[in-house]
């Protein structure tokens, strides 16, 4: 088995670390300014991911991470300051997470297996005001 690392991100504070400790996973757990890193044997990491998805449902987002926690060649403290190249993208995506969470909540609520895209019709009042503004009398 090989060791892998995942990063768990949430748009807001969740007790991810206490819950992981509570369950006693055999993992290295590291809190960073953008999320929690977990590192360990593949099976342990997978169990922790399944647990977190069950526990926090659509409020946590998880992806693999290439570098182990605190890796010198990537860690800001050792490589001469500045964010990792991936940091800015992560920050950008984090800003979208609340809407993605809401979307997931809605999908899972729905009984329908597939939901068709539906365009919302413009309201009659709005249409009337657009006509008034744009069509000369």
């Amino acid at each position: 088995m090989s060791k892998i690392t995942k990063i768990i991100v949430s748009p807001y504070y969740l007790p991810i670390i206490p819950k992981l400790y509570e369950k006693g996973f055999d993992l290295i757990i590291k809190e960073t300014c953008y999320g929690v890193m977990i590192s360990g044997e593949e099976k342990d990491v997978k169990d922790a991911v399944d647990f977190l998805r069950k526990e926090f449902k659509n409020s946590v987002f998880i992806k693999d991470r290439g570098f182990p926690p605190g890796e010198k060649v990537r860690c800001r403290a050792d490589r001469g300051g500045g964010g990792r190249p991936g940091f800015h993208q992560l920050e950008y995506e984090i800003s979208m997470l609340p809407n993605i969470e809401k979307a997931l909540n809605e999908i899972y609520k729905s009984d329908k297996k597939t939901i068709k895209k539906k365009k919302k019709r413009i309201g009659i009042d709005k249409l009337q005001s657009i006509i008034k503004e744009n069509v000369p009398l």
Partner: protein, 148 residues
């Protein structure tokens, strides 16, 4: 199924694909294989000049080294993929996906391989986010139906 995601470093795409029961072919796993191996010859990503030569499999020698090196990492993911989900307005991608030319080539490479793909835009509003997630879910379910 193995799904190539673009950006291949995306948290959202990686999470959604995995959440909907598929295997995201993400960049992070490629990096992991390189940086946790027995030797780190060319830190930080361990891309060596030989990898840059491997990029010649995809593009000509006149293409800048940074494009070839990036393709050596990412194009094999496209080759392994059964399908692809690509975001078009991914403006905040850096590092592996920091080169616009490489990114253009990767999208083209997906299309040239004729695997099923969808192209989406990153959502800014709640409504867009809903459409985004639904599109991904439907795309993945349709793949299962076709293959299943």
């Amino acid at each position: 199924m193995k799904i190539f995601i673009f950006p291949p470093t995306s948290l959202i795409l990686s999470d959604l694909v995995e959440r909907f029961g598929h295997d995201p072919l993400a960049m992070m796993k490629v990096v992991r294989e390189r940086v946790t191996g027995p030797s780190l010859d060319s830190p930080p990503i361990n891309v060596t000049p030989n990898d840059v030569k491997d990029g010649l499999k995809y593009v000509a020698v006149e293409v800048p080294s940074g494009v070839r090196g990036r393709l050596a990492l990412m194009a094999p993911l496209v080759e392994k993929a059964d399908a692809a989900i690509m975001v078009k307005n991914a403006d905040y991608t850096f590092g592996c996906v920091g080169c616009a030319r490489t990114n253009e080539y990767l999208r083209y490479f997906v299309k040239r391989r004729r695997i099923p793909y969808i192209e989406l835009e990153y959502p800014y509003t709640e409504e867009e986010a809903k459409e985004f997630v639904i599109s991904i879910k439907n795309f993945l379910s349709n793949l299962e139906n076709k293959n299943g």
